[in-house]
Symmetry: C2
Subunit: 342 residues, 2 copies
DNA sequence: TTGTAGGCGTTATCAA
DNA sequence: TTGATAACGCCTACAA
């Protein structure tokens, strides 16, 4: 079955391709009422489907948005098994589709550029998650398309950002523990240097401590990979070497789950013996245990990022601020216990 | 910064665009060694990036593969929160990228067609997950591109399929319980009518029972949504109304986790009081509890589907069978207990 | 070995 | 109100 083109439908009703194009592009005021109807009928009749590839070529607009998420270093597989990313993609995709854009999903190999993909495909914009080397961002700017960074502290003014106030989040979680009577509070977090997000949460942790007049103890800080496994190790270490700790702030739910496993295996009960608060409120918590955590509405974040990007693409983004900060709140569940304030 | 085109680089070294195109497309035998070098140098120098949109138009090949996953009916969000889908996408994407294809991810609204997207974007092929109405498949065939269905029992010979032997999987899980001394075995499953996969697993369940001379009791079958919540309800129902049941086969890990929660809340201990086996071996099990389950290597499934599709696209798929069945095996963990065989 | 020219499907410009 | 025609960037006969 051969493809039906503008020419075909023009020929079918004896007009020029231009006329067809007019009604296709909502410039019906240029065409007589009568022919508009004829064209529309023919489009239906012949089952015409526009070729976006050709359109993209001439309009220099692809209706295509690139979305990047981090991947494992070994197998180059997307980190979709991290529920945070799969959830946020869901938000992004729904918004994009609703607005007539398609989503090109990919990871990017270490040291590789995304400029190629961006230019090859004539992307209208991109949404980027994860942390990359500075050069990555520099190159990307050459693509000359609007770009939204999620959870990034890249300060370059070229990029738009969607995120949360991580410092405040760290503060909130720690303060919550303090308000429940805890004073020896461990922090389990992703690597503090590598990643702005973790550093901010760490700073929030320290601020809450100092505000309450609690001495900051570096021994209580465990930083490593943002993973269940590292949380698990930290949990065991806390149970073994830091018996005074009564509360743990894990800066990602995934880590919190690991911490709890480590603690539980060390015969500590949650929250009777030790309290744990997480961060993110990932959706799989409903399948696991009632973790008290700092909620960031992940899906909403994806939607917001997509909205912002579309506004920028369509030129409605002039009055947009470069940065969108989404709200946070504590979700009280069952892993934090109020203890006697000595 | 204006786009660098073939013309630009041709002009730069004083040759015709055709020559540049030759070396770009690996037809260097048509060009003198000397000019090949010059062209390549200029490509580097000017930082030329080919426009796949234009190439797609003339070659009628987009290097683009569509991937569809199911979505929630209410919010039209992708079911990526179901870890099964996010995991399989990871496998698909890594293979596609490695082979020079890009991945267009989307859901498809109820009653809508995917033919449009397919034709609009000139997709080279598609991978489809989920169950749709018959008309959906009929329309899709018109796209005239190779299509791989994952976990589908659509019998139409047009489509290629990647899946597992679900009947055997159901048999395997049930037999495992029987071998551990269980005779009153409940089945918690997705709706049996709607979805071929669940029906097959159900048939396997029945076969294992009958093979062991156990009477099939319809009261022991709970079918509903493939979700944590439904599993939870089923777990509670089993604890309350079916005290004789000693083993539960849940035909998805997500449901198994729900079942376990329902059971546990009803003061039953797993596996001391009642055993549970799941299906899928989703990766988040590492974050939850040591569920005994039927493993299907989900990532491998994604990779396999992508491989098959690429072979078909590139014409190497002539000797491919229409159907690829991947292996299954039991993963023994800690939710099934051997009980006295009466 | 290289260059010319036509065409992929669409939109946009300019005449008619 | 409509119709030729050029252009988007690329590839590929075919001719030179």
């Amino acid at each position: 079955m051969k493809r039906v083109t503008v020419k075909d439908i023009a020929k079918a009703i004896g007009v020029s391709p231009a006329v067809v194009s007019y009604v296709l592009n909502g410039k019906e005021y240029k065409v007589s009422q009568e022919t508009v109807l004829k064209v529309k009928a023919a489009i239906k009749e012949l089952n015409y489907i526009p070729n976006l590839t050709a359109r993209s070529l001439v309009k220099n607009k692809s209706q295509l948005v690139g979305v990047i998420i981090p991947q494992t270093e070994e197998t180059s597989q997307l980190l979709l098994t991290n529920p945070f990313y799969s959830e946020i993609i869901g938000g992004i995709e729904s918004k994009l589709r609703q607005c007539g854009y398609h989503l090109l999903l990919s990871g990017v190999d270490k040291g590789k550029s995304y400029l190629d993909t961006s230019v090859q495909r004539n992307l209208d914009g991109a949404i980027i998650m994860g942390i990359y080397q500075e050069q990555f961002y520099e190159e990307l700017k050459q693509a000359q398309i609007p770009i939204v960074l999620i959870d990034s502290y890249i300060s370059d003014n070229y990029f738009y950002r969607v995120g949360i106030d991580d410092e405040y989040g760290g503060y909130l979680a720690t303060k919550y523990l303090i308000e429940h009577g805890h004073r020896d509070i461990a922090l389990v977090t992703g690597s503090i240097k590598r990643d702005g997000v973790n550093e901010k949460r760490f700073l929030g942790y320290k601020r809450a401590l100092s505000e309450a007049g609690i001495f900051y103890n570096p021994d209580y800080v465990f930083d490593g990979l943002v993973s269940f496994e590292y949380g698990y190790k930290a949990g065991i270490a806390i149970a073994q070497n830091h018996k005074k700790v009564t509360g743990v702030f894990a800066s990602a739910d995934l880590m919190a789950l690991g911490v709890i496993k480590g603690l539980t295996e060390s015969r500590l009960k949650i929250p009777e013996d030790i309290s744990v608060i997480g961060f993110d409120n990932i959706s799989i918590l409903q399948f696991t245990l009632p973790l008290t955590t700092v909620d960031q509405n992940i899906t909403a974040k994806g939607i917001k990022a997509a909205e912002l990007l579309i506004d920028l693409i369509e030129g409605k983004g002039d009055n947009e601020s470069k940065e969108k900060i989404l709200p946070l709140r504590i979700i009280e569940r069952e892993t934090v216990k109020r203890i006697k304030d000595k």
